[in-house]
Amino acid sequence: MLPRYYFMSVKIILFGKLAEIAGGSVSVDNVPDTDSLVDLLNKRYPELTTIKYVIAVDKQVITENTGLNKKSMVALLPPFSGG
């Protein structure tokens, strides 16, 4: 039997410069955690590796590898420049 996450699809939203590279949102399948997500995105969009960003899961910036489920709201955030 396959692990539960196997068919899981996670939607990622991207902002600023990142959205120019990969679009405002992308769907990825089969990513149990944020480390796997980054690996996959880096393969799909090599230019992402050249850009500084943080990842937010459920609107909280994460600082270590974080598990994902199909309800996870994942966002890739380049350096802020509000104000």
Binding site: P79, F80, S81, G82
Partner: protein, 147 residues
């Protein structure tokens, strides 16, 4: 689960001086206020590689920004004896010389209003997922980064 009703802070386009005046005027009925502190962020016509910033196009991760702002507001109210706080940030296009950020704190005494305003500005610059794309006079652009 805690009930969260973040107040909207985003306005489309620049923040008009008349909007700021209205906001100030509304506080004249609050006669327990002794001091207001206001910070205004204005779009600067910075030179970038010989070109000039003509405007900034702001985008935000609005849901997250409003939640963050809610937390900042709660923290600031817990720390300072404030009467009220108002924050407005532009989305979309704001030209050089126009205002894109308006932070307004009021208190019985000046110290609380001044310190709360400064801390709110610093925190929202560091914590709100908002991005400014600087559109240059030659129609190229540059992504701004806060220091």
């Amino acid at each position: 689960m805690k009930e969260r009703k973040p107040k909207n802070i985003f306005v489309q386009g620049p923040i008009a001086a008349s909007f700021i005046a209205d906001s100030i005027q509304k506080h004249s009925s609050k006669t327990d206020i002794g001091g207001h502190s206001i910070f205004l962020g204005q779009v600067r016509a910075d030179k970038i590689e010989g070109k000039e910033v003509a405007s900034i196009e702001y985008t935000a991760y609005e849901d997250m920004a409003l939640e963050k702002m809610y937390t900042i507001r709660e923290d600031i109210f817990a720390k300072y004896d404030l009467t009220c706080m108002h924050v407005y940030h532009s989305l979309g296009s704001v030209k050089a010389g126009e205002i894109s950020l308006f932070v307004f704190t009021s208190s019985a005494h000046r110290k609380a209003a001044i310190d709360a305003c400064e801390e709110t500005v610093e925190r929202l610059k560091a914590e709100l997922p908002v991005w400014g794309k600087e559109l240059l006079t030659d129609e190229t652009y540059h992504w701004k980064e806060n220091k």
